[in-house]
């Protein structure tokens, strides 16, 4: 990221909040060329639609493949070639297959550059809650989320900034069961892009609302880039 000098965040007030596709495109644009990247199931998978071959990004899927290609054409489905969401996919030239323990060694061992995950909540300290609502009767399922959260060098979250009930999902402390502690680096939302830094939550861009307007709805202190020390 280029350092934004003491001007504060860029506020895009002449438009509404970002769509899901715009969030995915923003995440794709933020992934450094040549990165090894894991895209979580659900919305994060759509980031792949916005990655160009020229970026040289290599996609990892937890079920044992590097250089995964796009979803398979309906007439060319191979039940032995699926992604983490169990959707039939394709392989790109240079792909490799490996077993599950190696696949998770790539995460836990710090070999993956970026993972992109969804979230129920992110705390200002970078704690992530994304696997279980804790609701009575809910069947818990964690999959690879905890391994990814603590393993990838950079963890990007994409989510809406507010839940359906209007409450902020960027919170002082997560109230949902945690996935990982202090693991989130960046949060891409409809209303804002937020860096989680040692100095707190730093807003770099807003969409369809000013920082002041968002601050009214978010308990976490939203800092401007100029208020935070550089290097985040």
């Amino acid at each position: 990221m280029s350092m934004i000098e003491a001007r504060g965040p860029v506020e895009h007030l002449d438009r509404g909040p970002r769509s899901k596709d715009e969030i995915a495109a923003a995440v794709a644009a933020a992934i450094p060329p040549g990165s090894y990247v894991n895209l979580g199931i659900g919305q994060p998978t759509t980031v792949g639609d916005f990655l160009t071959p020229e970026s040289g990004v290599v996609l990892h899927t937890e079920n044992g493949m590097l250089n995964m290609g796009p979803a398979a054409r309906p007439d060319l489905l191979d039940p032995d070639l699926i992604n983490a969401g169990k959707i039939p996919v394709t392989e790109l030239p240079g792909a490799s297959y490996f077993h599950h323990a190696d696949s998770f060694a790539m995460m836990r061992g710090g070999h993956l550059d970026v993972c992109v995950l969804g979230a129920f909540q992110v705390s200002e300290g970078g704690d992530l809650a994304n696997w279980h609502t804790g609701a009575p009767g809910a069947i818990p399922a964690v999959g690879g989320a905890m391994d990814l959260a603590i393993g990838a060098k950079s963890v990007f979250v994409m989510m809406t900034l507010f839940a359906k009930d209007g409450s902020a999902k960027l919170v002082p402390r997560c109230t949902y069961p945690l996935t990982g502690l202090g693991c989130v680096d960046r949060v891409y939302t409809d209303y804002a892009t937020i860096m989680i830094t040692g100095d707190g939550a730093v807003v770099t861009e807003t969409f369809g609302a000013s920082v002041a307007e968002l601050q009214d709805r978010v308990e976490v202190t939203l800092r401007a880039p100029s208020q935070a020390s550089s290097g985040g």
């Binding site: 493949m65 191979d78 077993h99 069947i139 964690v142 393993g151 996935t179």
Partner: protein
Amino acid sequence: MRTFITDDPDAAVAEIADGSTVLIGGFGMAGMPVTLIDALIRQGARDLTVVNNNAGNGDTGLAALLAAGRVRKMICSFPRQSDSYVFDGLYRAGKIELELVPQGNLAERMRAAGAGVGAFYSPTGVGTPLAEGKEQRTIGGRDYVLEYPIKGDVALIGAYVGDRMGNLVYRKTARNFGPVMATAAALTIAEVKRVVEIGEIDPEVVVTPGIFVDRILNLNADGREG
């Protein structure tokens, strides 16, 4: 002991005992040894603990074993799926136990079992409900949770091609847990699409060496398929 090759699924699973821990390969349906599971259902062993990434999809394979009421406990990372209705019903009725394990810890706990490692410290799960009650340790400034091996009495896995030495190769993402589970059980049984003669698999491309494989079920003993 040298690998035993058979084309009879019922013979392959004949002496699996009640109460066994059964490692079942597959991620969703990819790599799931459906023919061996169907034979296990006919064989009748019950009170099983089953380890798989998921908890069954649709009505076949692991889901059919669950529906037959043979499984006391599931150890898995991701039971809840759009087509996991068999497990969902049993769980909500209190008819099955669930031990939820992060996917990487699940794989590594079986690798530890297969490699003779007594336990290991994992950074995955620290500070989460899945680490509650587990021993923790700070190593080099980072926090870890102690995780114990998962050893199987039996592993049922799916592979692509086997040879008469028991060497296995897999196909694409159907490999997933197969090579790890093959090392982690007292008795490993693999179903393969075909069995080839010794020497037909290049030693450089063998994924699971035959020492880890006790029995191979040849799904194409009559040569009709591919």
